[in-house]
Subunit: 339 residues, 2 copies
DNA sequence: TAAATCTATGCAATCGTTCCCGGCTAGCTT
DNA sequence: AAGCTAGCCGGGAACGATTGCATAGATTTA
């Protein structure tokens, strides 16, 4: 079943050699116009398509890039993926998407699977659980091109595309402060993630600017990025059990933001009466939420595009690249006040 | 850069032939235990991994399956993809996801790209725009295994996994009727999609059972599945411009349901005062919406799993398969009343 | 003791494609 | 007329892995 035609088939049918057929199809100058015409017409007729696997073997590249994200069911990542695809397909590259579900083990397995399947490069956003990136290091040292986006590994020298997390976090916290909140908690993903560190920093800076004290008890981490309901629930409960209950929460991630709203609803904690909330999210439908959630939005699509462009440039570079850039894109605060 | 080691490298280093090395690694009985040990240890040391591309060329299969959905940023599809991955990876298959964004052209391009990249099989959910499936037909005739899920092509003989759309639609409509609605509109995707036809049928049956008249003006199609805001907006506006305004809308899809809520909000049409709404959706956070949306939920994860199992069975079958099944899974009505 | 069997290994073809190299036949130059 | 070049084409190696067959030496058997 399903036996695609090969060069050899054409050669046999036309009484030519495979090399002639190959050259005719690739439009080399050393094939006579008549032969070319015959070959092209026959190839068209039997709908010949070169076998990409054979090509990959010969060219030692697969024209495909691997993408590692925590999950596609995340507004930020699904938008970033659209950006990635838009560039990749226009440049003739395949996109293979894998999900870590915030698990280090799955991340490692997926990436090694991709690398051994000969993807030409990797677009990586680390999982929440990942703190050890040595396996990535070794792939990188062996010359596999990779570009990080969103959640980057600081100890690997390559291109990185991130949002201005500090400023985004600053603005979100400032927004809460200007609404009159005094005790602002911070719910975030795992502590070693680059985005967690940067967003925490922005949060701290806003507190400092407005003369509010920083209280470590107000910072709650979710090592699994809120993949389990219980994780988020515990964090919220701990916050609400504090002697000095927070009057606001700034949330550092897309999944976490929505997860936190669910928890608050289930715990019958009302927004904004009992507590104010704002967070990072790229969801388009936050307006529909009750109450609407003011959010920090990242330029996900553009981040995906830029990361892919840089990756393809790395892949197609004739010489090893040693100059790497960290591109920082601005976020935007989407104010949704329940007036 | 990045030159993985090959059988030849090992053979040369150890003074053996590639065939011996190959056999030693595959643990054939005809290699002496000592040789095996030496080869295995050396392979381990240099971290040898067989080149999957060379293997694909030889075995004439790639151990990868292609998935075609409208978009991953859709709760139904992202859950289905998780189901697909869970089975595929456990069976050693790669998953390549492509998005059509409801466009026929992109669907065709993606599928032909996948087929020419030698995926071993296809998991297909048709785009809203697709009515001509002849290009799929021809691939199928040439022997490429494929399984449809959710949005199926009736004229292609293969396995199909769908939800009980008729019953789901019936229950949703019935729910609206029991709430007292008399003029129930139906907002749906493009008319030729299998799910549209089945859901319309369930809607009609509910109307009939409860003695309500069927009015064609109350049925609005979105040929692009609501990919553009304007498309949904126009449909809703047309409904609300009718002489006998509907007092409820039953919506036939995930994206459409959420899109419709956004439109209603922007048009300042209030739920449930001005109109009642219910629809198909697999979103986990509908509870957070204002007002909450009662929805029909499909067993997306299971559908993905079953489709993948059947596809792999097709792929690995030694003989051509002519007996195909249509598996129908039950939906569940998630009642969310704003009491 | 010679033949048969067995063990351990190497050779070479194969998958589909590209490309280097070399050969042949014109036609052109001197 | 002999040599040269250009145009056109085929042969075969290579990419990395598997595998049927051949073959070497060692061992067993009649």
């Amino acid at each position: 079943m399903f036996e695609p035609s090969t060069l050899k088939d054409i050669a046999k049918a036309l009484g030519l050699s495979t090399s002639t057929v190959s050259r005719a199809l690739r439009d080399t100058h050393e094939i006579s116009p008549e032969t070319k015409k015959i070959v092209l017409e026959y190839a068209e007729k039997i709908n010949y398509r070169p076998n990409p696997i054979a090509l990959s073997l010969k060219e030692r590249r697969s024209k495909s890039i691997g993408v590692i994200v925590s999950e596609v069911a995340n507004h930020y990542f699904s938008q970033a993926i659209n950006g990635i695809e838009s560039i990749a397909y226009s440049r003739g590259y395949h996109v293979i998407i894998t999900q870590t579900h915030e698990s280090y083990e799955r991340e490692k397995a997926n990436i090694q699977h991709l690398a051994s399947r000969s993807v030409d490069g990797l677009l990586v956003s680390l999982s929440a659980e990942t703190s050890d990136t040595s396996y990535l290091q070794s792939l990188h040292k062996r010359g596999l091109p990779m570009v990080f986006f969103d959640r980057v590994a600081d100890d690997i020298e390559t291109h990185k595309i991130i949002a201005n997390n500090e400023k985004g976090a600053f603005e979100a916290t400032e927004y809460l402060i200007k609404k009159g909140c005094k005790r602002i908690a911070h719910l975030t993903s795992s502590a070693h993630l680059s985005i967690s560190i940067e967003r925490l920093e922005g949060y701290k800076q806003a507190l400092e600017k407005y003369g509010l004290p920083f209280n470590q008890d107000y910072v709650k981490y979710c090592p699994h990025g809120g993949m389990f309901y219980e994780e988020t629930e515990t964090a919220v409960k701990e916050l609400m059990a504090l002697e000095e209950k927070p009057d606001a929460i700034f949330i550092a991630g897309d999944r976490l933001s929505i997860g936190c709203l669910v928890v608050l609803k289930n715990l019958k904690i009302n927004i904004p009466e009992d507590i104010n909330v704002t967070g990072f999210s790229n969801s388009d439908v936050l307006d529909l939420f009750n109450p609407p959630l003011t959010s920090v939005r990242q330029p996900a699509f553009e981040m995906g595009q830029i990361a892919t462009e840089k990756l393809i440039k790395l892949i197609e570079s004739k010489y090893p690249v040693y100059e790497f850039e960290k591109e920082v894109l601005e976020t935007s605060l989407q104010v949704r006040d329940d007036l």
